[in-house]
Symmetry: C2
Subunit: 213 residues, 2 copies
């Protein structure tokens, strides 16, 4: 039995992704909460483990893996079922592109550190910060809807859950916290509903984490 430790924060999108991934693979893990609200990710203790000072970080028998998409790849290498990407090159590339649209084109612009820079360093009011947030989420989800729709089924790619759905669900959760309207994304909402019906997704929800209490 491998010893798996996840350093995460209940509300961090990327942490939420990794909890879903671990649950889908049926892996049990210890959770080490790192409070971004309290800036614990910048503590000397945590930065000794992860010099970037970001969550999530996975430890697997002492091997430390950062970046949620790298963690998915690592988990896929260790536990085959269910695979997070299809096996054919074209399907793989499509699912990766969907996941990267969330991970590269939406989420990085709306990270806590970015919102803090807008408010702190640049002195913006909350209204400007909220408009910034909604702008990038709406632009990114519009792209994701267009990219996903032709090959979506119950999930973002056909009728099988994939890495794309793992990235989608936390992003929609996050967007709703900022009241982003979701009506224009029927494909994304259908995939989200399919995913949330799975226990692996439900158990990973921020509100279900102990540190949320």
């Amino acid at each position: 039995m491998s010893r798996i430790v996840l350093h995460d924060y209940f509300r961090s999108s990327a942490s939420y992704r990794v909890r879903i991934a671990l649950n889908l693979k049926g892996l049990s893990y210890e959770q080490h909460p790192v409070s971004l609200a309290a800036n614990e990710q910048q503590s000397a203790e945590y930065k000794a483990l992860n010099p970037q000072g970001f969550v999530p970080m996975l430890e697997w028998d002492g091997v430390r893996v950062t970046q949620s998409l790298a963690i998915f790849d690592f988990l896929d290498a260790h536990v085959k079922e269910p695979p997070f990407v299809p096996s054919d090159p074209e399907g793989r590339a499509h699912v990766l592109a969907l996941a990267l649209t969330v991970a590269c084109d939406i989420h990085p612009l709306n990270n806590l550190r970015v919102l803090r820079y807008l408010k702190g360093t640049l002195g913006h009011e909350q209204d400007d910060v909220d408009a910034w947030y909604r702008h990038w989420v709406a632009e990114g989800l519009t792209a994701l809807e267009a990219l996903a729709a032709p090959r979506a089924g119950a999930f973002l790619y056909g009728d099988t859950v994939s890495m794309a759905d793992i990235c989608l669900v936390p992003q929609l959760y996050n967007g709703r916290r900022f009241d982003v309207p979701m009506d224009a994304y029927p494909t994304l909402l259908r995939a989200e509903a399919s995913a949330l019906a799975l226990p692996a997704f439900a158990a990973a929800h921020p509100d279900r984490q102990e540190s949320a209490q």
Copy 2:
């Protein structure tokens, strides 16, 4: 022989990455320049091909692949040598994490569309925009240096070129355009020098593209 078409822009970091990747695999390709300066990525013609309106996009015998990291994976599936990631799960995850640190944590914050939003919608002066740019590049490169250093050799991971170097070189090129100081990143500079000595990297340089003339 496959027909490969790359839709790119000479100065786009993600396009530069894909040119390097194609060159490393020894693949010949047609180049279809899309001028971001002239907003051609938003044209109806281009958006019919890629609804997201981003470059790069690869067409491989008519199969369209977006997102540079998904394109690397697709190329790796079709042409084995040289592989862009190591074969062991731990090495793979490490190289992916390095590449994702550039692709998710640095580059998205400094895209042209983001700089335009800061200047246009938020009304910032060029000085604020430049400071924003340098802030995220410096923070990201500091993280990348710390993450890479323990396992770097001539390249970012050992003595073999990988996806991490493919992401690094365009990011450093991009950072220098904004006069980001680079002295604090000896590991990154060493890997960059090793990479630039390879013809695949040299031929992919923005200044060597026809559309740069």
